[in-house]
Symmetry: C2
Subunit: 378 residues, 2 copies
């Protein structure tokens, strides 16, 4: 089993630092994982991820990689680490979320799995718990996720309960398949169960207890940040983290804003991924140590100051706000690149700082001082 | 006047090496200038231009920069070098070519200048030789180009002659305005006349003689590679270069393929720019030391070899052909970035090699051996 060592515990909260040892290197938690949907973090070179942003682990999507380039190419390449040139740790989402969010026509859920149409060419496919484990063996991610049903955030209790029960049965099939197969490339992979249950406390507890009993190397919390108030999300995290084992990493899927991340760290979460830094960046929205910026606004037209005075990445030194505004207004690809590199550097800076303040025992005070600054709109 | 020193002359041809000293650094010729239309070389960071591609000078477009961000922003920034973070030498095209190629409705040419509609918002503008000099003072390029009429490549003699005569009158007005104004940012700029005359030998001679008499720091050859056979282009270059002074740099505008560039170098041309490496790159067409590649082709699907075995840039080491094909097929921005960096690295490698072989005196033999290799389709 993948080794996870807790290095420090914050004095005033449940926040903790740790190190996760994977076959492709160490991951220091709390960590943010840039999203590389089809294998590539959009508009960002692997050299930038490694040397400039300080990324330690990236995320790939099973759904996208299965459709394109397909498992044949990935196996011929020797797995995703070798295919995309990243080489460091990778986690793959199981495709559950994509099947439910990207394919809207002709999707059918049965006990066996989900049939869906490709968003690329409309072709029909079946994802089963077993099949998704096999695809993730082909991708070769260090951490693979269980295949789950992702019910809408607005699901009523009845639907949420039935959905969770299906997800739990699928989880057992995932575990059976995963444990019954060998990795393809000679290094260890780890399967994380996903805790579901919408915003229903008893369902979340039941799901977390079921997952914990399976004694895996780490656990994910899914189905949050899908429209519910942030306070409900935080409450669910508290419910789940009281049950999940202390000595294993906890991954909050698809979350979120810098504030969401700090609040979740305070409640004992260790790993995060979100498209927000890259997707919002491509729309000209920047996270900075002074506050958030919509770079399209007229007010930046003649502001020749650095994108971030803290110079979190080389792009903050090489380019000014005014130039970046010009690039985004002129639809230049370079503008998307700069925003993506900067925002990811910000997210990685945020979790590095969080680790430092947890180790120093003043996480809560630091968070209280930082949040008003970084969340204001400039 | 900008200092140009000839360093070597090829033994078997008119090819020569030199160094041009600008206020922002030296340019070693023959040189290829990446095109940064609106100030940015599309999909390429300035750090990559400087450190990875070996670019020494880039090109900006007066037409585009005048429309966006506009001279007010450029002047507030202290010129384009400071605005775009590049800092090294810049040449600006005068906008003549763009006015005639990008604005098709409502364009009107008079003795005074050209009225045209912006391709961005349809607003009306007037470019005169004097106005274009002023805009290039605001941009602050090291080398600025005269404002010329760019007649269609298919122009008959009568049109070409009238057009050239207008261009010559405009050139004199450009010189008068340029010499009658001061640079805005405290460093010297240099105005290059543009030789026109379509494919008519006597017009080219007349234009070159007129330009040469103006005794400027360098000269450009425009209006070629606009549809005429390559042999006619090479013949026109020979005609013009017999007249232009030996001791000044000669810039062949908007050219071209690697073959075009080597043939023009052999005929005494020193400077080149072209969108081909970046534009074709964004379409998945790669120039390599082994031949040209359409990366979209099925044959590269499982080819995990480097993009170029010569490893001309870090992207050739970090990524494989198969991965690049996947990125381009999946419309990933990173694919455009990789192709752009690679192709520009190839063009800069080509002119560096040309310089080396001119210095060694075996340019023609090297060219004859290289061309069949790099022009074949893989």
């Amino acid at each position: 089993m993948m080794k996870f060592t807790l290095l420090a515990q914050d004095k005033g909260s449940k926040a903790r630092c740790g190190v996760l040892e994977t076959a492709h290197g160490e991951v220091h938690t709390p960590i943010f994982m840039p999203v590389g949907t089809v294998g590539s973090v959009k508009a960002v070179h692997v050299r930038e991820l490694r040397e400039d942003i300080g990324a330690e682990i990236i995320l790939g999507n099973t759904y996208h990689l299965y459709l394109r380039p397909g498992t044949g190419v990935l196996e011929a390449a020797g797995g995703l680490h070798r295919f995309n040139g990243w080489g460091k740790p990778i986690l793959t989402d199981s495709g559950g979320f994509q099947v439910f969010s990207l394919t809207d026509t002709g999707r059918k859920i049965t006990e066996e799995g989900v049939t869906f149409r490709s968003h690329i060419d409309g072709s029909r496919h079946l994802f089963t718990p077993e099949g998704v484990m096999d695809v993730q063996r082909s991708i070769g991610a260090d951490i693979v996720m269980a295949f789950d049903e992702c019910p809408p955030g607005t699901s009523d209790y009845r639907y949420a309960k039935a959905s969770l029960e299906l997800t739990m049965r699928w989880l057992e099939r995932c575990v059976a398949r995963f444990d019954g197969t060998e990795p393809l490339y000679g290094y260890e992979q780890e399967l994380f169960p996903i805790v579901q249950g919408c915003v229903y406390r008893d369902l979340r507890e039941r799901s977390a207890e079921h997952a914990a009993k399976l004694e895996r190397g780490g656990y994910a919390i899914g189905g949050l940040a899908v429209g519910e108030p942030a306070e409900e999300m935080y409450a669910m995290i508290e419910v789940v983290n009281r049950i999940l084992p202390e000595d294993k990493p906890r991954y909050l899927m698809g979350v979120g804003t810098p504030e969401n991340i700090l609040e979740a760290i305070e409640r004992g979460v260790d790993m995060f991924d979100c498209v927000m830094p890259t997707r919002n960046g491509r729309n000209g929205m920047l996270f900075t140590t002074e506050g958030t910026i919509n770079i399209k606004n007229q007010k930046w037209e003649r502001d020749f100051s650095p994108i971030d005075p803290m110079a979190l990445a080389y792009v903050d030194v090489d380019y000014s706000k005014a130039y970046l505004r010009h690039l985004i207004k002129a639809d230049e690809i370079l503008g998307l690149q700069i925003c993506s590199v900067h925002n990811l550097a910000f997210y990685l800076w945020l979790v590095r700082e969080a680790r430092r303040h947890i180790a120093e025992g003043d996480f809560v005070g630091w968070k209280a001082k930082l949040l008003p600054r970084i969340t204001r709109r400039l």
